[in-house]
């Protein structure tokens, strides 16, 4: 056991603010690694100190293992917190930390490798007794036979992908060979790994995940979250606990997630994502996210825990401080992601300068943000501006508070998703709860209650998570790798 005294935060945006807050509370010094574009941002002003990691693009700054470890050494940090996205799940960073005698606040390199290779993760899930969708590795030559056994439509997935990237739905046998070849070429370029695999495509499923915490020996769960409100596999709204799940299903999923954690000797904070068909009472393993997630605050809201503090305690080698019996889930929490995107223009990104930032305040309202009036929203990073985390004694109270909270949320200078979220949380289907992963797309197609949202689809040919640049293996910095799973 070695107490952490100074932590290098290798991230930006709201998660940097989030980690700084907990470190401050724990009396841990913070050094924030900043690119030139972020040198004067709110997280830089809040951190005890900042260290520049260069002027360059993502590959040379937040995605550079060398730059981050050099910064940690130069700053005299005894630990690195990677946040989410960027290098959070990069085994090379975990190994570099080990070599440099720096604590990596996250799972072991072996677990990161197992989670990052989707076929390996799937094999571990099977070994741990978790249900998986019919599927397997696909070579262009024999993919047809496999797809025939699975039954169409099938989903072609990149082994090195994840977070909703590198996915391709094939509905007809005639399209399969081409789809596999293209997906393989793209996967090679984007993830440095040409392997692809097939899984049955589930068209109407929910996306539910279980939060895990482990110390390498013992693993507990911290309840579940529903992340079904997604657009193109990117989550917009998450809640805890997952509504209308049914106790049998809920308990089965929690047990399954813990079984996988125990099988992997999981150390740190992680999430097991599942596809769920509530009508059939069935669920399937989707992937393992070996990091703190964007939507962790809803779990904090219903458990009363500080997940960053638990991460740090595990990293210090203190072991689990909680037993499963100590973890209670009470009330309901909903998180809305406020993004700098224009829903009226196909969710076109809206970088710029924030001219005003007024957020709601009051009972049950938590706002995690890194923006204030004057903040730059640089085009090179993701579009997450703020997370409104609203909790109540039950879902109805949380929803009522959420409506008022969104109405009081006013961000000027850049386009945001606030008004779209305001309309969506009034939609009867969402209010009823338990929507599937296709819900938001259908709602937007209906015109979002006549608001003219998603007009003309993505006229400009926008492709979230496309592999055009493909520079970011395992990276998201807020949105991309945090996406949903394979369900449409």
């Amino acid at each position: 056991m070695s107490p952490i005294r100074r932590v290098l935060i290798a991230n930006r945006g709201e998660i940097a603010v989030r980690v700084i807050r907990t470190c401050r509370r724990l009396g841990i010094e913070t050094v924030l690694a900043v690119s030139d574009a972020d040198a004067d941002a709110v997280p830089a002003r809040m951190a005890d100190r900042t260290i520049r990691i260069g002027p360059g693009g993502l590959a040379d700054t937040y995605l550079s293992v060398e730059a981050v470890t050099a910064a940690a050494a130069a700053a005299g940090a005894d630990a690195i917190h990677p946040g989410y996205g960027f290098l959070a799940e990069n085994p090379r960073l975990a190994r570099a930390c080990e070599a440099a005698g720096i604590v990596f606040i996250g799972p072991s390199a072996e677990v990161l490798e197992a989670a990052g290779d989707k076929l390996a993760a799937r094999a571990h899930a099977v070994a741990a007794g978790l249900p998986v969708l019919p599927g397997g590795p696909a070579e262009p030559a024999d993919a047809g036979a496999l797809a025939g056994r699975i039954g169409y439509p099938v989903l072609v997935k990149a082994v090195g992908g994840g977070g909703g990237r590198g996915l391709r739905v094939v509905r007809d046998a005639g399209d399969l060979e081409h789809a596999v070849a293209v997906a393989s070429a793209e996967a090679q370029a984007a993830f440095g790994d040409p392997r692809v695999y097939l899984e049955r495509y589930v068209s109407s499923a929910r996306h539910v995940e279980v939060q895990l915490l482990g110390d390498g020996q013992n693993v507990i769960h911290l309840g579940d979250r529903d992340c079904s409100v997604q657009r193109r596999y990117q989550k917009l709204v998450e809640e805890a606990p997952a509504p209308l799940l049914g106790e049998t299903l809920r308990v089965s999923m929690r047990v399954a997630a813990v079984a996988l954690g125990l099988h992997l000797k999981y150390q740190g904070l992680g999430t097991v994502e599942f596809l769920v068909d509530t009508r059939r009472g069935a669920f399937w393993f989707l992937e393992l996210n070996a990091r703190i997630q964007v939507e962790h605050p809803v779990t904090e809201a219903v458990t009363g825990l500080d997940l960053v503090a638990e991460q740090i305690a595990i990293a210090e080698g203190r072991g689990l401080r909680l037993s499963q019996a100590n973890v209670g889930v009470g009330g309901h929490a909903i998180e809305c992601r406020v993004n700098a995107e224009d829903p009226a223009e196909g969710f076109r990104p809206s970088p710029g300068t924030v001219t005003s930032a007024v957020f709601p305040a009051g009972p049950g309202i938590r706002v995690d943000t890194h923006i204030q009036a004057g903040s730059a929203v640089p085009p090179q990073y993701d579009s997450l501006l703020a997370k409104l985390v609203i909790s109540g004694a039950d879902r109805a109270q949380a929803l009522a508070r959420l409506r008022g909270a969104l109405a009081r949320c006013q961000v000027g200078g850049v386009a945001t998703t606030v008004s779209m979220l305001s309309m969506m949380v009034d939609d009867a289907e969402f209010v009823a709860g338990g929507v599937d992963a296709g819900y938001l797309g259908r709602w937007l197609e209906r015109g979002g209650d006549g608001a003219g949202l998603e007009r003309g689809g993505d006229g400009a040919g926008l492709e979230r998570g496309g592999d055009g640049a493909g520079l970011e293996r395992g990276g998201d910095g807020g949105t991309v790798a945090e996406g949903g799973g394979g369900g449409g």
């Binding site: 809040m46 130069a74 640089p378 085009p379 990073y381 009081r408 055009g468 640049a469």
Partner: protein
């Protein structure tokens, strides 16, 4: 000074019982403003302290490179801050290091045309679509009319393909792949000629008209402002 959500909630609990509608709390490093509205309370914060920079020169950060990129970052922020003036950098190539090469490389068009031609079209550029003709033919009230008439014939067939958003310009669909187009490539209106990545959205840019690629104005992975010229097409 920096208050948590719990702190704010505690303050609000106190305020709720008092006849005040606003609390403005200021320290040299922090400001919190709470306002009572008909729907409930709002908060806005201002974290003011200047960052404390660790006095270490990172191994990978030579000063010269930092200065250059600092300039482009400043340009990016300035461009993004004033969308209405998004075309300004393109119209004033001599003051923006990012766009020097555009002018320097233009051997086919008299230099006098560059500023006025792109400036004229820039007024309408970058809003509705990603491509636009930079010539008197379509530039409403183009200043270019004052420029040498001898160039008109050449310019009328040259069309600027502009960045629809600020971001990173990619010439190829993925790292290591062949570029979408090279100078001399034949294109149709729908031919994808590049990608601009903005906030992780990959926005493919179409040629916008049939013709031949006459010039590629930015290197791969270079930053572009909204409305800046990415390449030029000699239209049929």
């Amino acid at each position: 000074m920096d208050l948590t959500n719990e702190d704010v909630t505690d303050i609000l609990a106190l305020l709720d019982s008092l006849p005040y509608d606003e609390l403005d709390l200021q320290t040299p490093r922090f400001r919190l403003t709470l306002r009572r509205t008909p729907d409930g309370w709002t908060q806005s914060t201002d974290t003011r302290g200047a960052p404390t920079v660790v006095d270490v020169v990172p191994a990978t950060g030579p000063g010269a490179a930092a200065a250059v990129a600092g300039a482009s970052t400043a340009a990016a922020v300035a461009g993004a801050a004033a969308p209405a003036a998004a075309a300004a950098p393109a119209a004033t190539p001599s003051t923006d290091p990012m766009f020097h090469r555009v002018g320097d490389n233009r051997s086919d068009v008299p230099s006098g045309r560059l500023g006025s031609g792109t400036g004229g079209s820039g007024r309408t550029g970058g809003v509705g679509g990603s491509t636009e003709v930079s010539s008197e033919a379509t530039g409403p009230g183009a200043d270019g009319q004052d420029a040498g008439h001898g160039a008109t014939e050449v310019d009328a067939s040259l069309m600027a393909v502009r960045a629809p958003l600020p971001g990173t310009f990619y010439r190829a669909p993925r790292p290591g792949a062949a570029p979408f187009v090279e100078v001399g490539s034949r294109v149709g209106a729908d031919t994808v000629v590049g990608i601009v990545e903005t906030m992780k959205l990959f926005n493919s840019v179409a040629a916008g008209a049939a013709g031949t690629v006459a010039e590629i104005c930015l290197d791969n992975a270079e930053f572009t402002d909204r409305g800046a010229t990415l390449l030029r097409i000699r239209t049929d």
